[in-house]
Amino acid sequence: MTTMARLTGHVFRKRLFSWRNAAFLLVVIGLLLAGALDQLASWQRLSTSGLAAPSGEEATFVSPVSSLYPGSGRLNVWDAVTGTLRLSGEMLGGPLFLLRAMTPLLAFFLLLAGLLCAYDMVSRDLETRLMDSLLGLPVDRRVLGLSKAFGETLALVMTLAAGCMAALIAVSTINGLGWTLQQLARTFVFLVILGAYCFLFVLLGMWISATARSSQKALWICSAVFVLALAAHVITESMISIDRANLPEVPDLPREVFQYFEDIRIKGFPESGVAPPEMEPYFAELDAYSTELASYMRSRYRNERWWSFLSPPGLLIEVSGVLLQDQYYDVLDVFYSPELERRPASLGASLRQSVPEIVWLGLLCLALMALNIRTLIRLEV
């Protein structure tokens, strides 16, 4: 154990201060800073645009309407929550929103970064014959291999966390955006999960490196893994996209209701803020529609979430959807239903909701660790 800790520390320090890591840090900061600034610009633009508060109301407005799009129910839930944060007049979600909006890209970028960090981890030592000396040391080769993977991942994750925090703090400072304790805790938990996600791909890259035995070949295989992961994710998303035929029909709009809202548009909202009784049947229909749609989305989301187990990027996006928001107790609450009981968001509830994905990520890491140990034991020099 002590040897492993020492070796991990050695690899960690070596990697942390390497040129490759410096380049990675620059790319992470550049990526997150550019993305966060862009999201901030769009956030401010939308909050001051036509989606302003209705006349006479306080300017705390969250656009209550959204559209379903081609794609899975899961993706629609993710988009609806992101839309709620983006269209909020008071920048709901704070820094969580900025990180959340970047997650689909980060999911693939970190996949590539993890693979690129590890593609020559074993093969380079084989090519330079350093492996002969390393295996001659009085250290178990499993300890040697895993220490390398741990050290490499720690350096990658520390750099990633530093880059994320630097970019988020810079944007928050520029814009005077505050952090709540819950937002900070959620960001921290998500960074830990990002660490596990990176570890998964470092282990995969290391296994490819040990199996291919040539850095050039391993680099090609890692590129193929990236392209296949992207293609598999996209095709799976298309396969489980919502079928229009299964959705409830939007209720028809009676002429008098249309006229009523046209008058509101021209004259502003009535003082009482209460609709006349003749509107009630239409509102009841809308409530029934919302309830039916919310119930459909709930059942769809629960069935579909298991698909994300096939794709690690899908897994990360799913976890980000639940963790990187502080508005909903259950993300499915984003679909309005008059029967919905509104509960305050809590980190505990979000973590409970993400347990299957986090456990699966852990199991994948363990499986790859076992695979690496097996390959290292059988490695011939």
Partner: protein, 319 residues
């Protein structure tokens, strides 16, 4: 391995088109839903619901596999179920990989090559020409397969086929830029792995960071210079300001230009009479803007080719 990557790439489009068709995915007039927003009075919520009901999809339903929705996602904004957004990343990576592998990879091959009685610059240009042929063949094949899948599932429509063709012409130019980037880096760097990693970093910069920087600069500029912008619009000119010119130049960077052009093409088929074109100069039509983008992409590829030629001319057989 490269063949496998190419096969995955060319089959992605037809697979998406067929899967979308089989699953009966939403392709037009998306249904609406009410979000839980307790701070908004129910009446206001229903009022907005009525407003939004009239918003149709921005793009023709036949090409729903290409266009995810009406929202333009560029830079770090990344959707996962529209082909144009997937191509944005995949084409860049694949073409850079192809470009970086066109040049010989061993010292022995370089030795043989440099022993030929041909100038190094000419040799490089021959490789560049081969790469151009590879690009044309690859995107030609992609076009044929994508168009065939659309014809089989949606039927033949000349407007849609014109759109699909133009998308692939743009893809060819966009992919060509990254292919020449890979080729130039392979000539510049001694080690192939370093060239590939530098290529990945350049792709991240070009397709994610630059578009976001341009976007953030543009919106900050129009917020802070409302008066100048309005005046310039009235005069039919562009603001005489180096910052604004930089923003305009950045809009022609491959990542930005690709996303905006492809979205404009789809929009043009559905709304041919609409003058909507946020990146056009005063008096410029959508197609004039698209031609400007094509010329800019071709010019940048030539620039990379020149850089590669200069680097290759100094290369020694030892690497």
């Amino acid at each position: 391995m490269l063949v496998l990557l190419v096969l995955v790439f060319v089959s992605l489009g037809p697979t998406m088109v067929v899967v979308r068709h089989v699953t009966g995915a939403i392709t037009q007039d998306p249904p609406l839903f009410l979000r839980y927003a307790p701070e908004v009075p129910a009446l206001a919520g229903y009022g907005t619901f009525l407003d939004w009901k009239q918003i149709p999809m921005l793009f023709p339903p036949e090409v729903s596999s290409f266009f995810y929705d009406g929202e333009l996602r560029e830079g770090t904004g990344f959707g996962l179920n529209g082909l144009n957004e997937i191509y944005r990343v995949l084409v860049a990576l694949l073409m850079m990989l192809i470009g970086a592998n066109v040049l010989p990879q061993t010292r022995a091959l370089y030795g043989t090559l440099f022993a030929l009685p041909t100038r190094k610059g000419t040799l490089f240009l021959l490789h560049a020409a081969t790469l151009a042929v590879v690009c044309i063949l690859l995107f030609g094949l992609t076009f044929i397969l994508n168009a065939a899948a659309i014809a089989l599932t949606k039927g033949y429509d000349p407007d849609i086929f014109g759109l699909v063709f133009n998308i692939h012409v743009l893809l060819l130019l966009y992919g060509g830029f990254f292919a020449y980037l890979g080729l130039a880096f392979a000539a510049l760097f001694r080690q192939r792995n370093v060239a590939l990693l530098a290529g990945v970093a350049a792709i991240v910069l070009v397709i994610t960071i630059l578009p976001n920087v341009q976007n953030a600069m543009y919106f900050t500029y129009i917020t802070e210079h409302k008066h100048e912008m309005r005046l310039a619009k009235l005069q039919g000119s562009i603001p005489d300001d180096p910052v604004y010119r930089t923003i305009q130049a950045l809009s022609l960077a491959p990542g930005t230009a690709y996303t905006r052009s492809i979205a404009l093409m789809g929009y043009d088929v559905k709304y041919p009479r609409s003058p909507y074109c946020p990146d056009c100069n005063p008096g410029e039509t959508r197609w004039q803007y698209l031609n400007r983008v094509r010329v800019a992409l071709a010019a940048m590829s030539f620039g990379l080719m020149a850089l590669g030629t200069a680097a290759f001319s100094r290369k020694e057989a030892s690497g």
